[in-house]
Symmetry: C2
Subunit: 350 residues, 2 copies
């Protein structure tokens, strides 16, 4: 089966060059056909610079681009010909099974919710991302799924309960974690701790049928004590952005300190390849893309600063998601109403 | 002038040994007299193990200890003889000008608010801590003050405006930062971004007379783009704990990766002292203590895992705070009502 994926060739800081390069990396590796969405002449010029199997590539003309600084709703209304709107149109019409964009998160979420729509019973679509973590016990997979990492800044407790359900399904299917440990991000592990929101969410999670391991302190995320970290989108976005800034600051501090002494310089030279490995692991941008979960089709938000490798990874993620039929699994498993026990898996007709 | 400081000898994971050792480090360095609060026989045994100028040390008997897992209010009611309650009593009576404890944050906050009381006009006392950061422009001081980092999990916009005022005063006086750059922690820099809470707080901060630089993404904190990061206590606690866990995970990953190859091992050996420096800088526990601001006297929460050096640093912080007469400055500067412009500094009688 060839998986059809639409890719926003114009979104992100490194578009279209790195986007097209990422597609070139993905094509030999994955059973995909790609539709590059954007200005045809610009895309064709990039296609000319890269070696691609053109029999598996099409171009969909989209003369406009939505900028990062534009109001999502206004931009979507005014720019019907934007790469984002055209790409989502392909998804809606079934011409693509997934859409990858490194463009504006807000516009992508608003547009996807409007065009593709939410899975029945899902209160809010949610943005999930993988954060690297330690894995001292060997139980985890080296990553924690952070959900919501920015789609919903103000949440109700029932949203958090659904994020947990969707996150657990994602971790099980996409990361291969059996019975994922779901933690509620909180200021302490004790049951009675936290804001009004998390206290209510705690009760819902207890009766969710998930492997809910209780409250998790934020330090439990990099330690890999949980597989799925559930929080509102404000908290999750703060964690994600802090992790990005912190890992960069730390690596730059390491470089500066090493370069300030002769043994440090020499040590840095010798350990150079080790450092590159670590830098790669701890840069959240390396993961490639964050899926919006809870929609009727897969939309992956690639980091605004995505390079070719990140785009390749986002495409890989789409393939696995579709192979696992995860949208259907979400449909079958989601709580209709927010707090009722989940129906048996596979109950709905194919 | 000798500064009188009460120190909870029983609070924290490493009490009383590291606490008393910290006092021994502080005494030759700072113009203080110290009252060690706790079980007299236990403290005396520790005093016997260390060289201290005993003419500047007294012991205040407190037979009980409040544990980390106890309910703060219940523990305070039941354990009138706890080191925490006795220490706060010394502060209330004026027998000490500051109190340092590595014990339960919740009990310390509840106890301090009850016994010492809030500064008139302060809506909520707040916990502030210093996070290490880069300083690429040379404008900052290598640290960002994170306020609130855990005292108030549910906040009103007016609380955040007051946190900003208190944080700005702290940064100016304690860190020597002129006109501190105050940022509101948010999911994006654009004015219209964020939760209902931060949107309202934004408007209050704009008219605060502070050097409000607008919304700050969490990545701006480690980058050192602001001096004071204002947020609710849930968000701040998540940032603080995440930073702790993340820096530990990263250092352990670095160690593991270096040790897995011969050049890495050699490089790590050569650069050993550089690594120690970096580890120290990026471990938030190294800062020594987080002050509660907005109370009528200084209470410093030392990290639960504080070692002697952390306690010494907490005592240093108390000295500077009292020398700068910061409680009085807060009294004079705080907005009575939350959003009125601040009165001229030094307006009240001494």
């Amino acid at each position: 089966m060839e998986i059809k994926i639409a890719v926003d060739a114009m979104g992100g800081d490194n578009a279209p060059g790195e986007i097209v390069r990422g597609c070139a990396l993905a094509l030999p590796e994955f059973p995909v056909s790609l539709t590059l969405v954007g200005k045809t002449d610009v895309i064709n010029a990039e296609l000319g610079r890269n070696k691609l199997d053109l029999s598996r590539v099409t171009v969909a003309e989209a003369p406009e681009v939505i900028g990062f600084d534009e109001s999502p709703t206004a931009a979507l209304r005014q720019k019907k010909g934007s790469s984002l709107a055209v790409g989502l149109g392909l998804l809606k019409d079934g011409a693509a099974g997934a859409f990858v964009s490194a463009g504006s998160t807000g516009a992508l979420l608003a547009g996807a919710t409007l065009s593709v729509g939410r899975i029945k019973g899902v209160e809010r679509p949610v943005l999930a991302t993988l954060l690297p973590c330690g894995n001292p016990t060997g139980v985890g997979c080296g990553y924690v799924l952070l959900i919501d990492c920015g789609a919903n800044v103000d949440c109700k407790p029932s949203y958090l309960a659904q994020f947990a359900q969707m996150g657990s399904l994602y971790a099980e299917n996409m990361l291969g974690v059996k019975s994922p440990r779901v933690g509620l991000v909180n200021v302490g592990t004790e049951r009675e701790k936290g804001s009004a929101l998390v206290k209510e969410a705690y009760a819902l999670l207890e009766s969710s049928g998930l492997n809910f391991t209780g409250n998790a302190e934020a330090s439990d995320i990099p330690r890999g004590k949980i597989d799925v970290a559930v929080c509102d989108g404000f908290t999750g976005n703060v964690i994600l952005k802090f992790a990005e800034g912190f890992s960069k600051a730390m690596m730059s501090e390491i470089k500066g300190t090493l370069m300030s002494s002769v043994p440090g310089k020499l040590g840095g030279l010798l350990a150079g390849s080790s450092f590159k490995k670590i830098k790669k692991k701890f840069d959240p941008a390396e993961v490639g893309g964050a899926p919006f979960l809870g929609l009727n089709a897969l939309v992956v938000k690639a980091h605004g600063g995505s390079d070719a490798n990140a785009i390749r990874n986002a495409i890989r993620q789409c393939c696995l998601f579709i192979e696992k039929d995860l949208t259907k699994k979400m449909e079958n498993n989601i709580n209709h109403g927010g707090s009722a026990p989940k129906p048996p898996q596979g109950a709905s007709a194919p």
